[in-house]
Every structure is written in C-alpha cells, then in structure tokens.
C-alpha cells in the first residue's frame, strides 16, 4: 500500500484561534476516506491544507511522497515559491461546495483550461480528454453550455470532470453536495461513487452519513481540531467509542 497523502502533526491557527491541533492522517492509494464532524471541527480546514488553499504553521503534508508548501532554508521553515506551490496544487484535484465553475467559459473550456495552461497539452489533446471526462460524468451533450445554463447538479458534475481530468494523485471533495437541491444530490453522489469504485484515491468532507458509510474505506471523525476517532465505517458507525461521536451520530440522520 502506497501512501498518497501523509499528514503529520499538523497545526493551523487563524490568529489566536488554533483550529487544527495536531493532525496525523494517512490515505493510501485507492482509499476513500471520509471526514465527518460538526461544523467548526476543522474538517474543511484540514482538507484545504492538503492543496495549500490554507497555510499551516507546524507539521507536514506529503502528497505522493513530496512534502508540500514549505521548505527548510538554513534551518528556517519558509513558504515554497509561488510556482512550486502551483505545481504542488496540481497534484490534487478539488471539488468545492459552491462548484466554482468559471462563469465566462463553457463547460468544455472549464475542463480544458487547466489541461492547456498547467499540463501544457495542445488544444486538441485537451478537448479530447475533456470530452472523455465530460462523457464520464454524463455532461458531454452540454459541453458548450455556460454554468448559468446548468443546474447545480450538472455544474458540480462538470466541476468533478474539471478536477479529475488533471489526473490528480488524490481528489478532495469539500461538502460537494451541501449546496444542491435535495433531488440533485443523488446524481452527484452517484458520480463520486463510480469514481471511487474505479480506484480513485479520495478524501471527502461530507455531511452525507449514509454515503460516507457506503463508499468509505475509512471514516475520520473530527472534533475540536483533533481527530477524535477513525476506522472502517462499519465499526465507526455501529460501535462508536467516544461519547462525542456517539452524540454526533445521534443528531445526524443515517
């Protein structure tokens, strides 16, 4: 088992407030890891540290064996250069709660932008690959539509195609279905599930407990900036050890 994501003793503060208080987490190749917990527990912040959208103050994140975001220079911890960070971010793909599709571009151009600008593909190669992934998420017929002409569920599926077409080592999902109408949640979860079954390595922050239980190899429960409990979903959901997780599961519908 090759570790794709390794987080060691990660600390993160917003001003005086410490929101991550020493996180250790390993995600192996092909694993689907769900992070659950109440809001303010630090789960989204942890996810955003994995692609450097958040800075962190102590500890280390490795993606595919490479330590990202910071380097040691003369014994000092310094932020990596803009260019290095951009390259490291491209090792992960992220799907946002609010989709964040580029509104001035067609679905197709949303997907090809990173392929041509970051991966250096020709327009033709990029379109071919984008078409492949748009078809995979069921959005090929609407590749020329603008985001505003698509439903939330359709936009999120394009956003998934945009992220995964970059061939990332790991996909990060930040509450990917929280902004969707209830009747649109299913189509997006189905897309994520089928990618998981194909062996894509994934980290999901989610409030969909049933989904977390069904697709995950490991579930991580965060509480107050720490990992309070983690394990296979069967054990975690049926026999939670910590009183906090017991209380959390009681309030969330399964």
């Amino acid at each position: 088992m090759t570790p794709i994501v390794e987080v060691r003793a990660l600390h993160k503060r917003f001003g005086e407030l410490e929101v991550l208080k020493g996180i250790d987490l390993v995600v192996n190749e092909g694993d689907v890891v769900s992070i659950i917990g109440s809001s303010g527990s630090g789960k989204t912040t942890l996810l955003r540290c994995l692609n450097l959208l958040e800075e962190f103050h102590q500890g280390e994140v490795r993606i595919g064996g490479e330590s990202i975001g910071y380097r040691q220079r003369n014994g000092q911890r310094v932020r990596a250069s803009e260019r290095e960070i951009a390259g490291q971010r491209a090792m992960t793909g992220m799907v946002f709660q609010a989709f964040n599709l580029f509104p001035h571009m067609s679905a197709l151009d949303n997907v090809t932008l990173g392929l041509t600008r970051v991966r250096g593909m020709s327009r033709r190669q990029a379109v071919e690959l984008a078409d492949h992934w748009l078809e995979r998420v069921g959005m090929l017929e609407r590749r020329d539509h603008r985001p505003a002409q698509l439903s939330g569920g359709q936009q999120q599926r394009v956003a998934i195609a945009r992220a995964i077409a970059m061939n990332p080592r790991v996909m990060l999902f930040d509450e990917a279905t929280s902004a969707l109408d209830p009747e649109r949640v299913g189509e997006v979860l189905e897309t994520i599930r089928s990618l998981a079954q194909e062996g894509m390595t994934m980290v999901l922050v989610t409030h969909e407990m049933r989904f977390a239980r069904d697709v995950s190899d490991k579930v991580v429960f965060m509480d107050g900036g720490r990992i309070a409990e983690q394990g296979p979903p069967a054990t975690l959901f049926s026999t939670p050890e910590s009183p906090r997780l017991q209380a959390f599961l009681k309030t969330s519908s399964l």
Partner: protein
C-alpha cells in the same frame, strides 16, 4: 406672439455639423481608451500590497473625481504652457478628458475586481494555475464583463463632455453650433438641431453598447 422657424440656414451647414459630431465621437473614443487603460492600472494599484502605492491610487481617484472637468480642461490648456508644456488644443483636451475619465474607470474596474468571487480564484489555484494566469484567464475577463454596463454609462457621459472642448476652440459640434448661431442668428433652430444630434448620437451609442452587454454580460447564476 408667433415665431417663424427657419432651419434652412442651419441645415445648409450640415457638413460642419457632421464633422463636429465626428470629432466629438473621436475625442470620446480616444479618451475612454486611454482613460480605461490608466483606470485599469489605478484599479489594480488600489489593491497593491504596497500601502504607499495604494494610497497614491486612491488619491488619484479622489482628486480627479472632485475636480470639475471644465477646470481640468482650462488648467491644462492655459496653465501648462506657463510650466513650459504647450500642447495643441486637441491633444490638451484629450489629456484632460483621459485623466478625468481614468478616475471614474478606476472606480468601475475596482468594483469589477471586487465582484469576482474569491471561490473562482481558489478554483483556479486548485487546478494549479499561477497567480498571473489566474488574473489573465479568470479575473480580468469576469471583471470586464461585470464592468461593461458602467463602462457604457461612462462613455455616453464622456461623449457629452466633449462639448466642453468648444471652450478652447476645438471644432466639435458645440463649437460649430455657436459659430453658426453667431452667423445666422437663428438661435433657437441651431440649438435645437445641435440638441437633436447629441440625443440621437447618445441614444445610438447606448443601443450599441446594450447589444454588446447582452452578448457578454454573465447571467446571474
């Protein structure tokens, strides 16, 4: 009392009136082009990490917005030669109008920049785009689209402001209207015709820009 309208002596001068309109449009176009470029630089400068540069940009905006355009025109045309910089009247007027409009365009672009959702920048970062790429491929195109309606309004008011060029004898529409007025004494007719020409032009500009907006402005999501 009865007044007998007689438009004939004014309409006989139509080549002058048309060339006046033409020059007015040209002055407005050149000024908005220069003013927009300058305004774009100033808009980015207001968000510069250097506090010194940002303050300078804000000062630029508030000084120029609090000066009457006529004062800028007269200052540049009559004042600058005293400082050893004489410009011909057309250049001088274009400089005045460009400076003036740069402050307004800077505000338009600044609002446009603020209207770009941070989530889109994060989405660009997440696929590994560099900062300058994000500016070029995401921030600027969205900003321009969001700024387009305000840009159109500025262009119309800028075109109307070109009538002030008459004060330094730039031969645009108002200048010729005044000239025809003093030659024919058909006071009412000449200003009616000039007014009508301004209205038609402004309306045409508005229609063209609306059509452009309709194609380019992003629908609310």
């Amino acid at each position: 009392m009865s007044y007998h309208f007689n438009f004939a002596p004014i309409l006989a001068q139509w080549p002058l009136l048309l060339s006046g309109i033409g020059l007015g449009l040209l002055l407005a176009l050149v000024s908005i082009a220069i003013g927009s470029l300058l305004g774009l630089v100033v808009a980015f400068a207001t968000r510069a990490p250097s506090r010194w540069l940002a303050s300078l940009a804000f000062a630029w905006i508030s000084i120029l917005r609090n000066l009457p355009i006529l004062v800028i025109v007269l200052f540049l045309f009559f004042g600058m030669p005293q400082l050893g910089l004489s410009l011909d009247k057309i250049t001088s007027f274009i400089v005045a109008l460009s400076l003036y409009t740069s402050a307004y365009m800077a505000e338009v672009f600044r609002a446009g920049l603020l209207s770009v959702p941070p989530g889109l920048i994060e989405a660009g970062q997440a696929i590994g785009l560099t900062r300058s790429r994000i500016q070029r491929d995401i921030v600027l195109p969205i900003m321009f689209r969001n700024a387009l309606p305000a840009f159109g309004n500025n262009f119309v008011s800028l075109f109307k402001d070109t009538s002030l060029a008459a004060t330094i004898a730039v031969p645009e529409l108002t200048y010729y209207a005044r000239k025809i007025n003093s030659e024919t004494f058909r006071v009412i007719e000449v200003w009616l015709v000039a007014s009508l020409l301004y209205i038609v032009c402004c309306y045409a500009i508005t229609l063209i820009l609306r059509a452009l907006e309709k194609r380019l402005v992003l629908e609310a999501n």
